[in-house]
């Protein structure tokens, strides 16, 4: 009798502990919650990009309001790193080791991301959708790191191709931010021009702290550049275009996805951005809008964007939050992650999440079509996610004219 009682107790304990263990099997996952981490600058010089994290937050709140994912709510922990890699690392370690994140999403900037990449990868913690088009995310590829942002190299390829083949320009120059973002643009432009037997007529670095663009414009003017590629931030675009106007220099300006928020750019340049051609990789579908037609970012047409505006932005964004592409990108970068969470089902683990991420093929997110492949340490493309961009022209009324359809860019490996 006593032995039977002990046996029953033992079975009960195994069952109880087994259930408990199952419920807390994976770090950051409970019966009712999934803890997700993110960093982003809410203060400091890069604070305008902080809207990415706020966009992700509104998106997760929208998902929770719709019932969550398989009975679990997403608990989104995002913190202000001020675009300071030391703060990024401290914040990520603190949240990971004190609360325990199941995964990390987005995260603005190459330098902050590089500060925590090894930490997250060593711990086998998934990190999905870094908010920067850096080759460091895919070369070498990491099993737990999934990129959803087309590389800046791709912007340069399509912009140069359009300038040379469609507009017939031979004299192309570049103003590039003196960091990974700008230097990728420089490299992409140089390699694309070389295919046509051309070289950049002027290549000028811009430091983040620079406010005076007169020397740059003087040099561009002297180089007789017909088109100038702008691999800089929105503020520097405003300064360069303003200075050029004052110095009566009017080349064709061509900018990147980072300056693709045309209503914002029109406002901060006081209209000088009109006519600028910029690359984009989502938030609208050029095929659906049609070449030569106008798209109005303020009136979204993509179903995912329409829903996000109504159920995410209108309900959960702060009153003073602007409906802009940076805010919306916060949703776009993590849509594949949410899709994988849904596919995994109730029994959520990091390994299962990675397995489902790898199965994502031709997934139509708000930020283009995303595909991954099973992990191959020798194939950076297994983690690139999205390689397509298209071109828009900013119009004076704040709308954008579609200039090209989706263009699949070529991956150019880093020289070691």
């Amino acid at each position: 009798m006593k032995r039977n009682l002990l046996l029953v107790l033992a079975v009960m304990m195994v069952a109880v502990f087994g259930l408990c263990f199952n419920a807390t099997a994976e770090e950051g996952v409970t019966d009712t919650e999934i803890h997700i981490g993110q960093w982003g600058p809410q203060t400091g010089p890069a604070a305008p990009w902080g809207a990415v994290a706020r966009g992700t937050d509104a998106y997760f709140k929208m998902i929770n309001a719709d019932g969550g994912i398989h009975g679990r709510k997403i608990v989104h922990h995002y913190f202000d790193d001020g675009y300071n890699p030391a703060k990024t690392k401290a914040g990520v370690k603190q949240l990971q080791e004190e609360i325990g994140m199941f995964a990390w999403v987005s995260g603005v900037g190459t330098a902050p991301g590089l500060a925590v990449k090894d930490y997250l990868m060593d711990k086998k913690i998934p990190w999905i959708g870094p908010s920067a088009g850096s080759r460091h995310w895919i070369q070498p590829p990491n099993k737990y790191l999934f990129n959803t942002y087309p590389l800046y190299l791709g912007d340069a390829q399509l912009l140069v191709r359009y300038a040379v083949n469609t507009l017939g320009f031979k004299r192309i120059a570049i103003a590039y931010q003196n960091d990974d973002y700008g230097k990728q643009g420089l490299e992409g432009a140089q390699k694309q021009l070389a295919k046509s037997g051309l070289k950049l007529v002027s290549e000028l670095p811009v430091n983040v702290a620079d406010t005076d663009m007169k020397p740059h414009i003087m040099k561009f003017k002297k180089s007789k550049a017909e088109a100038i590629l702008l691999f800089v931030g929105p503020g520097h675009v405003a300064r360069l275009q303003g200075t050029a106007k004052a110095m009566q220099f009017a080349p064709q300006w061509m900018s990147t996805t980072t300056c693709g928020d045309h209503p914002l750019m029109m406002a901060i340049t006081k209209g000088l951005y009109a006519g600028t051609i910029s690359a984009a990789f989502g938030l609208m579908d050029p095929s659906a809008v049609g070449l030569g037609n106008k798209a109005d970012f303020m009136k979204p047409t993509l179903p995912s964007m329409v829903k996000f505006k109504k159920d995410g932005y209108d309900k959960f964004a702060a009153k003073e939050e602007r409906w802009g592409s940076t805010f919306c990108a916060g949703m776009g970068y993590v849509e594949p992650f949410v899709e994988a969470l849904k596919r995994v089902g109730r029994d959520l683990t990091r390994e299962k999440l990675v397995a489902e991420m790898e199965k994502i093929q031709n997934f139509h997110s708000s930020m283009g079509t995303v595909s991954f492949k099973p992990f191959d340490a020798n194939d950076p493309l297994c983690r690139i996610g999205q390689q397509e961009v298209f071109l828009l022209r900013a119009e004076a009324d704040g709308t954008s004219t579609i200039l090209t359809d989706w263009f699949k860019t070529e991956f150019i490996p880093m020289d070691h």
């Binding site: 020397p215 002297k222 004052a246 006081k270």
Partner: protein, 291 residues
Amino acid sequence: MVDFLQMVLSGIAVGSSYALMGLGMVLIYKASEVPNFVQGEMALLPIFIAFMLLSTYGVPYYIAFPATLIFALLLGCFLEFAILRRAKEPNVLGLIIITIGMEMMLLGFVSWKFGADQRAMPFPISAYDSIVIGDLFISTLDMLTLVVALVIMLILFLFFRFSKIGVAMKATQQNENAAALMGIKTKQIRMVTWGISSMVGSVAGLLIAPVLVEPYMMWDPMLKGFAGAVVGGMTSLPGAVFGAYIIGIVEHLFGGYVSIEFKSVVAFAIIVLVLCIKPSGLFARHYVKKV
């Protein structure tokens, strides 16, 4: 030759905003013997107030700008009265730390209250129109900044030379104890000095703002103004102006002929050079403290 002249002209244009910031710093240094690192943010908050008045409330320029400058005056007075004056027997390092603390508080307040988005401030003249002289260009905004800088220098000169309060300020700056013995209310004078400095810096800010308004916009002009003031001599108003123009011109010549990449750091190389050769700055008399 045209390139050289254009670089010099552009250097003078950009040097004007540095000069105004430098003047503000020198005013406070002479009064409090502290390099004022809140100088940029003392202009930043008034800029955002002006932006709010113009963009949100549609207040006309002729009311918004004077109101902004009065706010700047009061802000400077408030910071001296409420914070700096409360420091007990502070040394220079302590005062510097206090100004850095105030800088962070004001920057944080602006970021919190107005957000981090970049904006363009309405302004009576276009920031992007230019005056053409032969083959040389100068934007109308730069020309206005140059004229305003010269006018403010003249006003300050006349103020210190002929007004009672200006003379009292000079006396307080030269010897506070002697000034107090002569019946000058030195604490009030110091407070007013902070107010005037804040107002001068805000004029520079209002002339920078038509290009772009953002929370970190005053950091670079403040550093360059500081560099100009150090080059000219922290106790010399004409020196600060001259130093700022040197910084502006050398920056442009360096950017044009040597390296655009290192254009921004050349100002600080000049500081090191001047401090090695003439530690008190080019225009200030060598400072010897009697003990």
